[in-house]
Amino acid sequence: MSENENLLWLRGITKIFSRGTIDETMALDNIELGFNAEDYIAIIGSNGAGKTTLLNVIAGVYPPEKGGKIIINGQDISGLSEYKRARYVGRVYQDPHTGTAAKMTIEENLAMALLRGQPRGLRAASNKQRRELFRSALAPLGLGLENRLNALVGTLSGGQRQALALVMATISRPAILLLDEHVATLDPKTAQIVLELTEMVVKREKMTTMMVTHNMELALRYGNRLIMMHEGRIVVNMNQEQKVNLSVNDLIVAFEQASGEEFDDDSILLRQH
Amino acid sequence: MKHKRSSKTLVGICLVLLLALALPLMNACQRGMEYKIGITQIVTHPALDSAREGFIKVLAGEGFVEGENVEYILRNAEGDMSIAASIAEYFVAEKVDLILSIATPTSQAVVGAVEGTDIPVVFNSVTEPQAAGLVASWDKPGGNVTGVSDMAPVEPQVELIMAISPNTKKLGVIYNAGEVNSVVQIQMLNDIAGKFGLTVVEATAASTADILAAAQSLVGRVDTIWVPADNTAVSAFESIVKVGEENGLPVFAADVATVERGAIGCYGLNYTVVGEESGKIAVRILRGEKPADIPVQMVPLDELYFNRGAAQRMGVTIPQALLDKATKIIE
């Protein structure tokens, strides 16, 4: 696959924290990864594997080490700061509070999200047309949020906020959607609802998505590609055919074979329920 | 929503009740008093307090006695200028017969508030009333405002310093550059310093907490310290005395009240006298004279105070000739 065919291409991405001190860690080790438009990639790995760091580097929270490149649609965005890169990247965080502004209304949050990556001026942030747009984006969620445009986001439940965050992340059609363990803090029932909503939004908007999760079952169920990371490296990289009939145990075996280590992360195993 | 409205109403009712309470309290005091005099002060401070006491004393002596035919309304802005303006408004609303305003910002606030009324204003402890806009000129104030300035000529004070510490070549001064009257005094000092062959070294402080550091900064750079009539420096005078005594630096001041607290000596600008003079002016106005015709007064420097103990601790001797002329000697 050449650079130009891929939607997103990561080349030689390395990230080192606390360089030169006792705590120096290599969180990402020369990652090479490419995805196509409309790929839905699930990323799993134990704590410290580097999953969130990878998302942060893509989103521009911190830069990769010298030589690393991030290319989207043929454009090298490695040098752009976080807010300049926002045009290309939509993100839903683990904590529902992080992606939304609690003291503002649903309408105002969406108005802000709509302008992701665009210059903001003195026009009124919301008008009749925009409100219609928001309603049509919220209605398919089936949560009734489209009737509560003037409600303060702080009054919504965690699941509702994540659903809103999802719409906020996609309403401006960014090139990539990053989902950072976005159902990890929700109870199983709500998590299920949000995951189904995610699936629906991703399909409807034809988004290219990276989902980071702790949950192997989810990683197997959703997405057309699966990546497993360990100590900053990609140790398992499967496409649709390869993952379609796998079970969790198969995955563990695949991990042990690829990394040469015993799979000993109980947290992943325990989260299967 | 019902709850919101009822809480607002309840608060509103409480406020009105408070007001209603306040008024009878006021009324009780003023029953039957012939004269209502408002006194406003910018801050609590020994000099300003003496000025107020002097005023009240003189009025009492002339037959205007508190509780008999005079009700005083005493207010202190406690350093807050917006409150000084509120106090002035309050006096106007109370339709007082005369206002005594002590210090410059209070006087400015009062004069601003009485505009359009005919309430007479007597000020004291204002160094430059014309520059402050209180009067049209010293001789003919021309409005409803007149009073007593606390401007003290600097030259006699420098003469006193040279008489007691003749080897002084560098004179240190400590003051708050934010006080107009201090700046005026330092200006006057700089004008005559050359005549005495003196170099003036300035140390400023923006608040009482900075005075000690200002005093310390003069150690080793000056032979003698002089403190003008500066509210900030005088409030923190003990710090300056401490530095003077520890380093054998003689400390002189312009405010008589400081001699008791450790200054070696001073020509008295006695704030009680300032207050008394303003009291005399007030009496004239209450008896019918127009403020426009009463020129602004300056208080003569004719008292001499010494503190022999301080002189000894700071390593100087006061010539006997001066001691003989002294109004008061403190040990």
């Binding site: 807010y83 903001r120 | 008024l23 207010r75 200028m81 917006s82 910002p105 400015q108 359009g116 806009g133």
Partner: protein
């Protein structure tokens, strides 16, 4: 009763004019979450520049316009210190406040500039409208100004930039993730706030007849108290109501001071009495809720 009328009308005037300070404090502390202490300095700066210009013959309306201009610069400096040099907000504000003390002394050429013999905006409007100077005229002038400021702010905080500004204080990370430059929104908010405060200083100086180096002292405390009282008493929702509540809070705070003055206690106890009255004003809504057994949120840190 005449006295009640006077007390209320004077408090309305003060509520309006000091209301600008409270709104400025509201924009920084509440909307932006930026604890800006520059206020004590920028208030005096506005007063200083206006007074000096008027004394030097400049038209009072123009002189008054100069005040928010300089206030904006002061706010700009504070926010640049914070966003570009990464000096913590609290410290940046304190540094500017300290610097402004010296700057204000220089602007005034001393510690005090008298306006008692000058023509101010109050004097000019009085001539224009043929009204006597007095509390009624002052309320009209400050009222017009307040309405203008209110309308402008109400509109601005609903624009695209305004929304980004409000969100910056709510969730800065999200705003950056949405592609807005939070440095710019912070600078904008802090500058506007100090412009408003300086405008208040200019009007207060003309109203009271002088500008003095000490007149800004305590403005930040007054502003904060007004904002908090406004929020507690009026429980506003939405931008427009919040702005009104802040002005209302200022009115109540100044009313408390006026009442305290009239209660006739020892002159040095004014501050204590004011504090007590403010505590009562804040406690009443809370105690009411408690009595009705309503749900009570935990104590806010500020």
């Amino acid at each position: 009763m005449d006295a009640i009328g006077h007390v209320l009308s004077f408090s309305v005037y003060e509520g309006l004019v000091f209301g600008f300070v409270a709104i400025g404090v509201y924009v920084t502390f509440r909307v932006l979450g930026f604890p800006d202490l520059t206020v004590d300095g920028s208030f005096t700066l506005g007063a200083a520049i206006t007074a000096v210009l008027i004394v030097n013959g400049v038209n009072p309306f123009l002189a008054t316009l100069a005040a928010p201009g300089l206030g904006l610069c002061a706010g700009l400096a504070t926010s640049l210190l914070n966003t570009k040099l990464r000096i913590p907000a609290l410290l940046a504000g304190i540094l500017m406040m300290v610097a402004l003390y010296s700057i204000n002394l220089r602007v005034m050429g001393g510690a005090n500039v008298s306006l008692l013999r000058e023509v101010t905006v109050f004097g000019q409007v009085s001539e224009l409208l043929g009204l006597k100077t007095g509390i009624a005229l002052s309320i009209i002038i400050t009222g017009v100004l307040a309405v203008t400021v209110f309308l402008l702010l109400n509109w601005f905080l609903r624009t695209e930039i305004g929304l980004a500004l409000r969100a910056t204080g709510d969730n800065e990370q999200m705003v950056r993730g949405l592609g807005a430059d939070t440095d710019m929104t912070t600078i904008l908010g802090v500058s506007i706030s100090n412009g408003l405060v300086a405008l208040a200083g200019a009007v207060v100086a003309q109203g009271q007849g002088f500008a003095d180096i000490g007149m800004g002292i305590g403005m930040i405390v007054m502003g904060l108290a007004s904002v908090i009282i406004g929020e507690a008493l009026f429980r506003p929702k939405g931008v427009a109501r919040l702005l009104l509540a802040v002005i209302g809070g200022t009115f109540v705070y100044r009313l408390m001071i006026t009442i305290a003055l009239r209660l006739g206690m020892a002159p040095g106890d004014l501050k204590l009495i004011t504090a007590l009255l403010v505590i009562i004003a804040l406690a009443i809504p809370y105690l009411q809720k408690k009595a009705r057994r309503e749900w009570l949120p935990p104590a806010a840190k500020w």
